[in-house]
Structure formats: C-alpha cells, structure tokens
Point group: C2
Chain length 338, copies 2
C-alpha cells in the first residue's frame, strides 16, 4: 500500500504533516508514504523522527499552491507544485491514494484536470462523514460540484452508499435528499427533479425522500445528498456552531464548577476529540479512479495520520470497484451533462 | 398596539399559545392581543387564566391549516382558516402585526396572496436572529424565497440592515454574502452576480464580501444574506446540531460529574434557554406592510410571549418606514423580476 502525502499542504505544513506520516507508517506495517514536497524542508523534519523510516519516501517538488491562490491559475503557473505532483503519482499508478491538507479547490481542480474518473462517473464529489445520534453518516457533495445536474446527485447517492456500506459498515444504507421540507414537490428546481429521478431509479427502495437540515444529526439516513454549494455551507456552519457552542459550554457550564471541573474538562476534551468538525480524518473525493482524501487546512499530526489511515482503508475496501458495478447496473439515463 | 395571534397554529395549539398571549398582555400595558381561532376552544382556556383579560379579544374562525397540508391548497379550500383571517386583520389595519406558530409555508403564502408589500419591495424574506460570539446577527432569507434574483438579495440586505440597526442596536450594520469561499468570483451564478451587485450599490461600504458557513457564529458581520433554500437548510442544521451537541454534553460531560452535577445542569439549562434554536422569539417576515412574526411549530408559552413582544417592538421601532426610505434611495436597478 502506497499513499502519497502532500507534505506542503495545510496551514501548519510541513512539520505536523510530516510527523503525521511518520505516525501513520508506524501504525500500519504494510504502508509506505511518499512525502511530496520540498526535500530541503522535509529531510530535517524526518531526521528528528524515529520509526520505520524505510517506508517514508520523499518525492521532491519545488512549488506550493498557496491557500489564497486561485486554483486554476496556481496549477497552471506552478507546474511543479505538490498537489499536481501527487495527482501525477496517482495517475501513473505509483501510489494507490493521495492525501492533502492543502488548497481544497486546487485538489479538486487537479483531479478534474487529469479527468481520471471511474467509468461512467460524470463528476467527482467530496464526501464528508458527520456524527449523528445514530452513528456516522455520509454527506455529499460538500464542495466539488457547485452547480450539479440531477444525474450527478444520483451518482453521488451510489458513491455515498457504497462508501457507507464498505467503510462505515452500514448494511443497507438509506439515502435522503437535502431539501427545505419533507413533502415531494418541495424545494428548488434541482431538488424537485432529483427527487423524481431517485424515485424512478433502482435506488428508490433505499431512498427515504426529502430530509431537512435538522434531520442530519438525528440520524434519519446514512447518506445525505446535496449540491456542493449547500453541502459546503452546511459543513462549515457545523464547524462554526461547534466552535461556538464549545466556547459557550466551557465558559458557562464548566465555569460553574469548582472541585469537579478537571473531570468535566477531560470529558469535554474527549467529546471535542471525537466531534471536532475541523479535525475529522478528511473527506474523500469520490468518483475518481484511485483514492483521494482532502483534509481540513488546519490539520495537524493526528488528523493527517487519520486521513492516511482512511485512505488505506478506502483502497483495501475495494469500494471503487463496487461503485463502478453499481453505476453499470443503473439504466442509462441519457446524457444531461457535457 | 394591537397584535393578532393565530391561536390555532403550532404543534401544541391552542393552550400554550393562548397562555403566551395572556403573559404578553400582562407584561405590556399598551398591548391588546386578538386571538384568531375557534371561540369554543379559546374561551375555556381564557376562563382559567387571570390577568388583563379586557386586552384579550377573540376573532372567531372555524378552520385551521394543518402542519402537513399543501399551503396553497389549504388556503384555497379553507377560506375561514386562522392564518388567512390574521392576514386579513392586518390588511384591514385592524391590527399592527400578526404572529403565528402555524404552517410557515401557509403564513408566507397568505402574505404573498395579499401582496401587501412595502413600496418597492419585490419579495418578502424571512429573517432569523442567530447568536454569535459577538452578539446576535440577522440571517435572511431562511425560506420565503427559494429561488431569488440578485435584486431580491440586495433588498434583503437593506431590510436586514434596518432590522439590525433598529431592533438589535447595531449602529452601522455590516453585511456578508453566504458563499463557499471568501474570494470574489466564488460560488454559483446567483452568488457571483449578487456579489457584484452589492459592490455596485450604495451598500458597498458596509458589505464585507463573501463569507463562509463557519463565519456566522464567529460574528464576522451583522447581516448574513443568502437564498431561501440555503438559509432554510442552514437554520435547520443549526437546530439539529444544537440538539445533538446538548445531548452529547449532557450524557458525557454532565454524566462525568457527581456532587456538582446540579449546578452544571442549571448552567446548562440557562444556556439552552438562551440559544435553543427552536425556541427563539420568532422570525419576522420582512418586506410586508405591517409586522408578521413566524414562530417555530414547537413554540410554547415563552416563545409565543417573546414573539408577541418582538412584534410590538418591531411596530414601535418604525423599521418599516426606514426600509422604505432606504429602498427609495437605491438607484433604480431595472426590473429583473416578474
């Protein structure tokens, strides 16, 4: 198993990124990580680490896409950047998967540029895993495809279901369509047409219909389908409100305690570790031929280690093969896309 | 000051709704509430209450719009329903404002039917007030206008700003546009065109540009503008995650305590009372000629009392006059609407 890691991507790169890779190979004896980035920066960090260093390779490249750059411009002007080089390693099958905490838009654009999608996939989508009262659920798309067609959303349901089945152990994953009300006929044109498309598709038995924003955390379904604009806003709203409520809770509830404050702080730290929306293991870009995990820009050691672990689980699960088979079994729905 | 209250609207109507009205008139000596609904149900509830009963009137009507009904059908088939009758009282200027915890879609449809908008207003929008680390902010639209035009969003910024100024005491309210990234040029077509329209408008000095979902609770601006689809999903996601996190906190953090658990529970109850997204004082439908407050379906006494209080503050503030003046001062932007 070989995973390429963009060593230069993320707000805190490269040190915690490289250390996350060291931790990942230490935890998985079959794993090799290829650190993609500036040799001169990576080598001194590695020199200070111990572990199975023979399973850490460096693929040198000289450029980095800045977090504020326009992705398309940056990829064009900086051909030797760590994101493009990671994609190239994947395209040449020199690695099984790639992981980056760098510029999300550039990661997606890098993949779109190569257009190495799974057969029949029209557009890749970013999936994220969200906690609910009944365990994790998959939400997609959260930002790869801002103005999708209904067929894209149907394909996302296939991808998300296979991901939920093989990586989250949901035997028969149920699917919900994000909307402004539960009744059929609700919502904007995209939601209405997509709702009908689901009902006319082989997915209809697992389609629970429209769901509302409050239903996600209640765990009403295993896979939530939405367009990349709404999904991206939703995901970041969750991040913001989590941060806000943790602060309020810490100030007001923990602040009300005296002798038992330490144990409450410990319980809260555990809760934050589990639910912090900004430190989750990373979001897979589904629909590409290979595995690509996009991490939050604020990722540090633990998030990177988790993301590399998710990437190798993803490779081992064979979920891409299952996605291809299920897409193949869908009746042809014509070409409503470019 | 006369406010009509839909006594039949909401999951728990009519008892807690009517009691909320009794509490509201007790708290405001200049207020009369007109209870719109079934006399036979309202009278026995009032008979058990004490307070300034002379300032509680009943406007009898025989029908109710069910929470699951199609709003347009229901308004047509049930002409004597409490929502339509409330709007009628407003249109005839027999009341200054209306409040309902009934069917949101029917409330909006009732207002659209009468089309009693403020001068120049193209479409009313539902505003909601959300807590942030820097105090409350206004978000609109959260569901009245699912597929708005850019001009509608510009008008929402005017309405939201005037509301923030006169009801939330924000001297110079700043405005942000909900998007998937901060940079200009981000997002779907609506977001891109609206961004440029803001920059070309007299609002540009208070426009901070695009914001992301996580920025709301960080309090980066006073007024958040978005389309009704995204706004509605966002609002309900907040409600769901609040419910989820409070349950997790309660189980894990409060569950870790022994002797100090009661004081932590009290602090948590206070926090929930302040931030519970489902029990806020209600969402104003801005842009109509009059005041209309839409409450959460789950509203009980306190939420109804608060909503009536918000309605009367809204009337007293003269904010509608300010909205009209500011819309008048905008250069004509042509007719991009029906």
């Amino acid at each position: 198993m070989r995973i390429a890691l963009d060593a230069m991507g993320g707000d805190h790169a490269p040190t915690p990124i490289v250390i996350g890779a060291v931790q990942a190979v230490a935890a998985d004896p079959e794993l090799t990580v290829v650190l993609v980035g500036d040799l001169a920066q990576i080598e001194p960090i590695l020199a200070q680490q111990s572990g199975p260093m023979e399973r850490l390779e460096i693929f040198h490249c000289s450029q980095v896409v800045g977090m504020q750059e326009s992705p398309v411009d940056a990829l064009r002007k900086k051909p030797d950047n760590s994101i493009s080089r990671s994609w190239q390693l994947l395209a040449e099958r020199k690695v099984d998967g790639i992981v980056s905490a760098g510029h999300t838009g550039a990661m997606v654009a890098g993949g779109m540029r190569l257009k190495r999608y799974l057969p029949k996939v029209r557009r890749p989508g970013i999936a994220t895993i969200m906690p609910t009262i009944k365990g994790p659920c998959v939400i997609l798309d959260v930002g790869a495809n801002i103005t999708p067609k209904p067929l894209h959303l149907l394909q996302y349901a296939v991808m998300g279901s296979q991901f939920a089945k093989h990586l989250l152990q949901k035997e028969v994953p149920t699917i919900g369509l994000m909307n402004v009300g539960e009744e059929a006929g609700k919502g904007n044109e995209l939601a209405k047409v997509t709702h009908d498309l689901f009902l006319a598709s082989p997915l209809k038995d697992r389609f629970i219909g429209n769901i509302e924003g409050r239903d996600i955390h209640r765990g009403v379904c295993d896979v939530v389908i939405t367009d990349g604009f709404v999904g991206n806003v939703m995901l970041k709203v969750c991040e913001g409100i989590f941060e806000f409520l943790m602060k309020m809770f810490s100030n007001e509830v923990l602040g009300s305690l005296n002798v038992e404050r330490p144990q409450a702080q410990l319980a809260m730290k555990n809760l934050i570790d589990r639910y912090d929306y900004s430190s989750f293991g990373g979001a897979p870009l589904l629909g590409i031929d290979g595995v690509c995990i996009i991490c939050h820009g604020s990722s540090r050691e633990r998030a990177i280690k988790n993301a590399i672990s998710v990437a190798s689980q993803h490779v081992r699960s064979g979920v891409n093969q299952r996605i291809t088979e299920e897409l193949d079994s869908l009746p042809s729905l014509g070409s409503d896309d470019e």
